[in-house]
């Protein structure tokens, strides 16, 4: 009851989704679209679940008087405010609506800036990690340097063959390696997917009973 039903549902849903790929018949395709919309809806509900846990966690911190509980307030206020703007402001998606302004001027800048931290980290990583300790490490280092040079105008100035070398590295060794990894990864994914459908791999159910 507690494990059989979910496993059965898992198998049926999986089997249908795998098979529909080969059947262009509208009855099947429409059912597929319906099921897909269900999965997306489930995702949305699951997201709501996350928000609930988020709220619980921060309430916890505030109740337990954690040192940085002030920041928990920041999170909660941001969350509630955004929901308010979204649901109680008509046409919240329109450009210029408070909801959209908050998105564009608070969320986007912070996320974009966090993303751009990578520019600094990629440099520090290169400095400390690119050591010609072994043959492999040396090759990695050399490939990286050539490609870096080949990407910028100054590379062409240093030597006109650098861009060509860059393309070659990308199109031959890089391609071969990527394809190898892709095939292996692909097989691993399919095997795991099959095991999930057959209920051999049930980590997603968690443990207990």
């Amino acid at each position: 009851m507690r494990r059989q039903i979910p496993l059965a549902l898992c198998f049926i849903a999986g089997l249908f989704m795998a098979v529909q790929y080969f059947i262009p018949h509208p009855a099947v395709q429409n059912t597929y679209e319906l099921l897909l919309s269900w999965l997306q809806t489930l995702l949305a509900f699951a997201f709501l679940l996350g928000t609930v846990s988020l709220i619980r966690m921060h309430f916890h911190k505030i109740r337990n008087r954690a040192d940085d509980r002030a920041f928990s307030w920041v999170t909660l206020i941001g969350l509630v405010g955004m929901i308010g703007l979204g649901f109680f402001h008509p046409q919240h998606q329109l450009p210029g609506s408070p909801f959209n302004l908050m998105f564009l001027n608070v969320q986007v800048p912070i996320e974009a800036t966090m993303f751009s931290l990578l520019a600094f980290y990629i440099a520090s990583a290169a400095f400390r990690a690119f050591r010609a300790r072994t043959l492999e490490a040396t090759l990695l280092l050399i490939a990286a340097c050539i490609v870096m040079l080949g990407r910028v105008p100054i590379g062409d100035l240093i030597h006109e063959s650098i861009p060509a070398a860059t393309q070659w590295i990308l199109n031959v060794p890089n391609l071969a390696a990527k394809r190898g990894v892709m095939i292996g990864v692909g097989l691993g994914m399919m095997a795991t997917a099959l095991k999930i459908m057959l209920g051999i791999e049930r980590a997603w159910m968690g443990g207990s009973d």
Partner: protein, 211 residues
């Protein structure tokens, strides 16, 4: 004026995040906690209006599924109850005694996506690779690609110890892998820096308007 205020807010938050490069500090903490809250709220609204509302709420309250494609005859509004129900089941996990019921929805979700993945993965990652790698060994390039591919696959072959020919091949594979990694690393630098340039130009051009 309004825009200036908004830009200033964006700029202050931008600087707060960059302050993390020096060390963790209250400004960063503020930005970090703020974006967690804001983004949660944002996605909640977006998900509701894009999935829950059209797939559950609207059809159920109007007692019909509009032009929503349905396998077994249109107008079956009650079908919209199913995703709603499955969605609500997820919340049983807050009630330990019935928590296991959440697995029903989870089963459909995990199984559905597992099945959905299989065929496209087989197509994109295996079948098309076979087509692309069926290369006659007539040029140095082809030989290198084939050797590199064999080596990489050998490296990922777990059924035997890496000794003898397999060991040698695996060694070749690791070499190709490392060159590939180096290339992608160097290749990514540019786009990461572009992001930084974007932020800097936001600060100097859009906000301070000094350039």
């Amino acid at each position: 004026m309004g825009t200036l205020i908004w830009t200033t807010i964006g700029a202050i938050l931008t600087l707060s995040v960059y302050s993390f490069l020096y060390k963790d500090n209250p400004f960063y903490k503020f930005a970090e906690h703020l974006v967690v809250g804001i983004s949660a709220g944002y996605y909640l609204v977006i998900y509701y209006y894009n999935f829950i509302d059209p797939n559950v709420v609207t059809p159920v309250f109007q007692l019909r599924l509009g032009d929503q494609a349905i396998g077994f005859g249109s107008g079956a509004w009650w079908l919209a109850l199913i995703p709603g129900l499955l969605g609500l089941l997820l919340y049983t996990r807050f009630f330990p005694r019935v928590a296991w019921v959440a697995r029903w929805s989870l089963g459909i979700y995990v199984g559905g996506y597992a099945g959905l993945g299989i065929s496209p993965v087989m197509q994109a990652r295996v079948i098309e690779q076979i087509g692309a790698n069926a290369l006659p060994l007539t040029s140095v390039t082809n030989v290198l690609i084939v050797v590199g591919l064999l080596g990489t696959l050998a490296y990922f072959f777990f059924s035997m110890k890496h000794k003898g020919i397999l060991g040698a091949l695996a060694r070749v594979g690791i070499v190709f892998l490392m060159v590939g990694f180096g290339a992608s690393f160097g290749y990514t630098v540019m786009s990461r820096i572009s992001l930084l340039i974007g932020r800097v130009s936001f600060l100097l051009h859009d906000w301070l308007q000094v350039v």
